[in-house]
Symmetry: C2
């Protein structure tokens, strides 16, 4: 794999940025790696671990002479960062981001970027429930989709270069419109997160079941919700506040549907329930066939694989 950018600046050094650094370094995609973070502790860790070649105090310093600048801060902080770095960007450089919503990021960032800078938003669909500069690993993007979301007139060469960068880290790269991105992600990621947060919150609130019982007996179902609900609070707060309309729409649909099932249970309508649960099972099969999950029982959590015979 050959070098794609001579100098890459990462603003924010959490799970995604540190994974990009590891993945890009492994594949030789980037020359010098510059990084910065708002927290002094994060900057100290990045320097101590050798995560970046250069750690700067400010974003303005970090972007100097960078060919690619990647904004890896929570969605709500993107606008302020763009305002800070705007005057210091190298003409002809590319600015990208990894935010989970795109329309709001475009509106916050674009006005601050000078002419001659290529702004190409992106979103890697990968993550874990961990965060921070030590949570990243080179394999995070492998066999996962990264959506590149060009907006307005985008220079084809700058776009092709960013695509090469992401493909080099192991991602399947696809292009998508900002509005459609925000809707697809609402369904596949944001709403499930909000619902998992709610379920875990309800369990915690229910005084007649102790916390220790919830924790001990979580194996069947609840455990998977808690993983989702353990994701970074700041990131998710910003996602919901910045994709408000789509959130409202799908929550409305969800509550409506939940009430339909609730009514079926109250009326004892077993046929409706059985038909419903059979349909959702088919969707699962589609995901396994698409290679986006394992069919190993229980995610292969240390059980035997498949059946032992006899």
């Amino acid at each position: 794999m050959s070098r794609v950018y001579d100098r890459v600046a990462y603003i924010g050094l959490g799970l995604i940025a540190s994974s990009m650094i590891h993945a890009g370094r492994r594949a030789g995609l980037q020359g010098e790696i510059v990084g910065t973070a708002r927290s002094a502790e994060t900057r100290a860790i990045a320097a101590e671990d050798g995560l970046c070649d250069v750690v700067t105090e400010t974003a303005a310093e970090a972007v100097k002479d960078a060919d690619l600048v990647v904004l890896c801060v929570p969605v709500g902080a993107m606008g302020a960062v763009a305002e800070e770095i705007g005057p210091h960007l190298k003409p002809g450089c590319t600015v990208s981001d990894v935010g989970s919503v795109k329309r709001a990021v475009i509106e916050a960032v674009k006005p601050h970027l000078p002419e001659g800078v290529h702004f190409i938003p992106a979103h890697p669909l990968a993550g874990t429930e961990h965060s921070g500069p030590r949570s990243g690993f080179a394999e995070l993007f492998e066999n996962r989709y990264t959506l590149i979301v060009p907006e307005g007139d985008t220079d084809p060469q700058a776009l092709a270069r960013l695509e090469r960068f992401w493909a080099g880290m192991g991602a399947h790269v696809e292009l998508m419109e900002p509005e459609h991105h925000d809707l697809v992600l609402m369904v596949t990621s944001h709403a499930p997160h909000l619902i998992a947060y709610t379920m875990v919150g309800v369990a915690d609130d229910l005084r007649r079941v102790t916390d220790s019982e919830v924790i001990k007996y979580s194996a069947a179902g609840f455990r998977d919700f808690t993983r989702i609900a353990a994701s970074d609070p700041t990131m998710w707060r910003d996602v919901f506040l910045n994709n408000r309309e789509a959130t409202m729409e799908i929550l409305g649909r969800f509550i409506e549907e939940l009430m339909r099932l609730q009514r079926a249970i109250r009326k004892g309508d077993g046929d409706l329930l059985h038909e419903y649960f059979t349909r959702t099972r088919a969707i699962r099969r589609g995901i396994i066939q698409a290679g986006q999950d394992t069919s190993a029982p229980d995610f292969g959590r240390g059980h035997g694989q498949g059946q032992s015979k006899g």
Copy 2:
């Protein structure tokens, strides 16, 4: 490990029964294994694979001379099976089950059992999204809880024997009251399942996002819901119909809580969201500390473990 029961009859040969057979055989806990299932295909598979030593056509035949009878049929079928086997049970034998709700099973089964038979309900908190006689494996119960739910006067010796049987299969055995069991399981398992089913159903319904998009981009969050929502439809239909009151209560709470978060999003109340998401993260840490899940990122789904340095 020494033999606990000379002859064990399994009524129903799905994931749980076949796992009990493998686990019990591996540990030498059971002598002769008799099994039956309503479906002729399941019986043929059980005979062909040597899953059981004897496969019978009917439950009445299967329980003859059995020291332990385990009802492994959906909760809604328990009453009819109990009625069928009642007259054929060996005096002094133990009848148990593996149903996910306990009060409804006790009410359905108990009236059909003769004097001198020990009825001791149980519920192993273990499972995968797979089902059928070939889905079982010996390790399913290891390091998982099995709740034994004695009701009324229970013979201490018969109880101790059943505890020994489950512990021999690797389970942590605990005792619990039927009503409390049904409430705890509602929170930790039943409600999460219903909610996952609903979420997957809503996604499927939403016409502006294609099914293939939902499937392709499912990695972040939605994927975990589909696993839960792929569980056996008949089993889950019966669970909800037989634990109706607790289901109604928790769904009410859930909808209320969801509306609170919805309102916070609409009003842009970032502090409330951040506080909420921080609290749920702490619950996750408790589950990992209790040894009921792995802290490996993303369940250790084929990513690198932890961070690769430098």
